[in-house]
């Protein structure tokens, strides 16, 4: 596989290093002179100096081949967006991955159909929510392309679903319970699985159906 990486900070440099170790070919574009020089010492000609939103810089770095994958990892969301758009629309790059630095900009990436995206703040917040017990329904994974998400809920004594079989629950349309974690052991949720207080349940559902799911599983 051949990948083109924009942005040579800690993230970009490590992605390049890892891809090379896995036997892939990758080139990287870095704008800052000092960073570029350091990277060039380690990686040699695979590293290019310049602004990766400039078309001639992208071409020098090999975008015309085109790469199997373009990874936009600069610290500027607008730059990452433009790099991905140019790659996809001008050079027919099939796959792009973009870093989102400010989670408020996620909606712009969605609007322009750029994805998958990776946002450190959002990932950290998902983990924080996972650790904070008062969030009774925690989003674990967003499957953008499928328009589905995976959430986790904790069943307690008061939950209307406690003591009931999965097939007796009127779950929201298009949602399913996936697994039940009980006493450290996880099992696949099937129709005959009976929910108990203390269970951690994973569910898959359409975004927007969270409240409905919460009502059926947690609060009558």
């Amino acid at each position: 596989m051949y990948a083109l990486i924009a942005g040579g900070g800690k993230v970009g440099a490590n992605v390049l290093r890892t891809l090379q170790r896995l036997g892939h070919e990758a080139t990287l574009v870095e704008q800052r002179r000092d960073r570029y020089e350091r990277l060039e010492e380690e990686f040699g000609h695979e590293v290019h100096h310049g602004d990766a939103t400039e078309i001639y810089v992208l071409e020098r770095a090999g975008i015309r081949r085109p790469p199997d994958l373009v990874i936009a990892l600069t610290g500027d969301d607008e730059d990452n967006l433009v790099i991905c758009q140019i790659a996809r629309e001008k050079y027919s790059v099939e796959k792009v991955v973009a870093r989102v630095n400010d989670p408020r900009n996620q909606e712009h990436f969605d609007l322009m159909g750029i994805g998958p995206t990776v946002c450190a703040t959002s990932s950290i917040m998902a983990l924080v929510q996972h650790e904070v017990p008062e969030h009774e329904l925690v989003q674990l994974l967003e499957l953008r392309r499928e328009n589905l998400e995976i959430v986790e809920v904790q069943i307690d004594r008061e939950s209307p679903s406690a003591g009931r079989r999965v097939d007796s629950l009127a779950l929201p349309e298009g949602s399913r319970l996936i697994t039940v974690l009980r006493g450290g052991e996880s099992e696949i949720a099937i129709g005959s699985t009976e929910l108990q207080p203390g269970d951690q349940v994973l569910a898959i559902l359409r975004p927007g159906k969270e409240d409905e799911l919460r009502r059926i599983l947690l609060r009558a």
């Binding site: 939103t53 500027d76 607008e78 730059d79 967006l81 629309e89 712009h108 322009m112």
Partner: protein, 150 residues
């Protein structure tokens, strides 16, 4: 003295530098209701003493700021911050999300301006204009047919 006021003719100008502020003042002078967005409060001074439109301090990529500045009722959006890529993103947000047909975007880099024009964005590239005019100015000079020998 009469101010021509045409209700429903609203323009939003994002970026109040030399270019944005002049566009805003000109549009206001010709009867538009204009609101302006800039990250810096000091930029308001560029609009002069007679400015009677709205001025919102904030980043143009922030949807809240755009709403506050009235993008939902805008008939035209002019995007002229000092960042090409920022302008490209804001322009597309205005066009695709808020459905503003008259969205005009300043892009200094001729290559990106040309590419985004093919993508349906109305781009204005001052650099290209300068290149064309300078070249034309040189061509129209009267120069000796042979360079002077030294």
């Amino acid at each position: 003295m009469s101010v021509r006021y045409r209700p429903g003719v609203n323009a939003l100008v994002i970026g109040c530098g030399r270019v944005g502020s002049s566009v805003a003042v000109d549009l206001q002078a010709s009867g538009w209701e204009v609101s302006v967005v800039d990250e810096k409060e000091e930029a308001l001074a560029r609009l002069g003493d007679h400015w009677r439109g709205a001025f919102v301090v904030g980043h143009g990529m922030d949807i809240q700021v755009l709403r506050e500045a009235g993008i939902e009722g805008a008939d035209a959006v002019v995007v002229a911050t000092n960042g090409d890529n920022t302008n490209i993103v804001i322009g597309q947000v205005a066009q695709k999300r808020f459905d503003i047909g008259c969205t005009v975007v300043r892009i200094l880099d001729p290559a990106r301006a040309a590419f985004y024009r093919t993508q349906g964005l109305r781009t204005v590239c001052p650099t290209k204009t300068a290149i064309d005019e300078l070249t034309e100015a040189v061509r129209s000079c009267e120069v000796p047919s042979q360079p002077a020998a030294r």
